[in-house]
Symmetry: C2
């Protein structure tokens, strides 16, 4: 086992434990010569400090937690990438938790994090999180907390998001300008602020172009792919089917493609599609998929940076940062 500790090291060196500890932490109290000796011996004996003893004593874990709905998802994978980059630079460890879009999981995960296991938490809510008591409670214990992308609607807290309203507006307007008269909206959740904003953009774009918002064209999708396929198939099989689809998340666009293949609907001739997406193969699809692409990697980086500012107390007292990044609309053939 990992056996060499300060005690053994100090015995080997003929020094006290405290001196060895101080030498290793490069304290001014220790002479250069001694430090050199200690470092050499530590190297030789392959000393690795016990992180738990250290964390216990210093009340710091050098660890952050990332809580996300899923990982097999291009957006979140990229966000994690950005988070890890910053964490690695700071020398922090990253604990990852998946809620699988399940509120109970999110709740229990957050509760566990109250024990001091981490110095800060990055979180993107799950699709049916409405009650945020668990997060308020975590916040009250003093753990720095940053939300990214899927942020709570009614909580004063630091967030990193994108211009969801504008993106929803632009995407919808783009479809209208391409010729769509009946644009459907595929939504992920009833609760999430991001879907509210994206849908508000969608509705306002319709209104701007004198198109009435038709509730039948707004589909609340579920967390089950099979069900979603059925919902979309039903939508697209109607006589008065839409001629455009605005998908608020990537997987719903993918499902739409499958349904169109299935029922032989031509994209974009019979139905135009645009979607929020971080798919790297968007331009290789048949047809290439028009996307609103969120800067997922940057979102991760910004969130982590913000969190570390809070951890290091570099952020002003009770200042609450709300960072908003811009998504980019990329027109491709699915909306021509």
């Amino acid at each position: 086992m990992s056996n060499t500790n300060l005690k053994k090291l100090s015995e080997e060196l003929g020094l006290s434990i405290s001196s060895v500890s101080k030498a290793l932490r490069d304290s001014y109290e220790i002479s250069a010569a001694t430090k050199k000796r200690v470092l050499a011996m530590a190297e030789k004996m392959n000393y690795q400090p016990n992180p738990f003893a250290s964390s216990l004593r210093r009340k710091k874990s050098i660890t952050i937690a990332v809580v996300i709905p899923e990982i097999a998802n291009n957006f979140f994978a990229l966000a994690i990438d950005g988070i890890q980059l910053v964490a690695q630079q700071k020398g922090y460890h990253v604990l990852t938790y998946l809620t699988h879009e399940n509120f109970k999981n999110e709740e229990s995960t957050i509760k566990h994090l109250q024990g001091g296991r981490v110095d800060g938490v990055l979180i993107s809510l799950c699709r049916d999180t409405d009650d945020i008591q668990h997060l308020v409670s975590l916040h009250e214990t003093g753990v720095p907390l940053v939300f990214f992308d899927r942020v709570p609607e009614r909580m004063e807290c630091p967030t990193v998001t994108t211009d969801d309203y504008e993106s929803g507006f632009k995407a919808t307007e783009h479809l209208i300008q391409a010729g769509c008269k009946k644009v459907a909206c595929l939504s992920l959740s009833n609760y999430l602020s991001i879907t509210h904003k994206r849908m508000k953009g969608y509705e306002d774009a319709l209104k701007k172009h004198q198109i009435k918002v038709d509730p039948k064209l707004i589909i609340q999708c579920t967390n089950d792919n099979g069900t979603n396929l059925q919902l979309i198939k039903k939508l697209l099989s109607r006589k008065d089917r839409p001629d455009g689809i605005f998908a608020t998340v990537e997987k719903l666009a993918i499902s739409s493609y499958y349904v169109c293949n299935d029922i032989k609907l031509k994209i974009p001739e019979q139905i135009r599609i645009i979607s929020f997406s971080n798919l790297r193969t968007a331009s290789l699809l048949a047809p290439s998929l028009s996307t609103i692409t969120q800067p997922a990697f940057e979102i991760g980086k910004e969130s982590a940076s913000l969190l570390f500012r809070m951890i290091e107390k570099k952020t002003f007292g009770n200042r609450i940062d709300k960072i908003v990044l811009k998504s980019s609309l990329v027109q491709r053939n699915s909306s021509k």
Copy 2:
């Protein structure tokens, strides 16, 4: 802060610290009535045990580490998903580390893990890992270690892999049977066991069909996408260009698609492509991509399960498990 600890709890209850601790851990030494009182008070005071004190004392972290080259990668994202599933069931925490295909990162990460921070490690090597001294060293400190997919060639250790040789063979033979005479192989690394095996399958399939292995058709790609695009473009622009591509990893197939679009090579008419891939949109590409699909999620699950068997010492003394799962070849239009 997370302030309530055993001491406060015990004072509030008029019990000793040890009794409270034992009550919370449901020890037989404590009466049912007392346990009930303690549980109630712990709930009321929102007690969360300090994980570091506990880990320090018990010499267990209830945490595993996952070390992978990258996360924005369908294979690894799915594998992590499987790992997390098992870890969550076991009540373990998961620390994730990205090496970004950089050996130095891998080395230092592994070194840090020797301090006892985790009870076990799951790792997929990075593309240029040749020297495995750091892993031998970790293993020697007694930390259970399971390799998945990208495993070391010369080390006696538990692994979870797929039938890479057979898959490489089948994929290549499939291209030959589709009519290819000159099949190129896009490889990721010189060192990895998986690429060796996949390439051996490739070579043996060629030999079986009396096709000479042409070193000029075997391209060692790099870790830089731009460079890879150039390498592939050069390969496909030659007069004696190949009529088939066997890509050993997904991103090289994607790059090939881009190059073919760029230089107007028709897939599959002028060049057929098959690739290892976990792309969920493989069937939606233009043309749909033939794939060898690894059971990434299952690989994650199996690796984690194996690791936990080792952690729980349920695995026989020095028995070394080598689990091999089957990949599936899915023919689509890119190799018609």
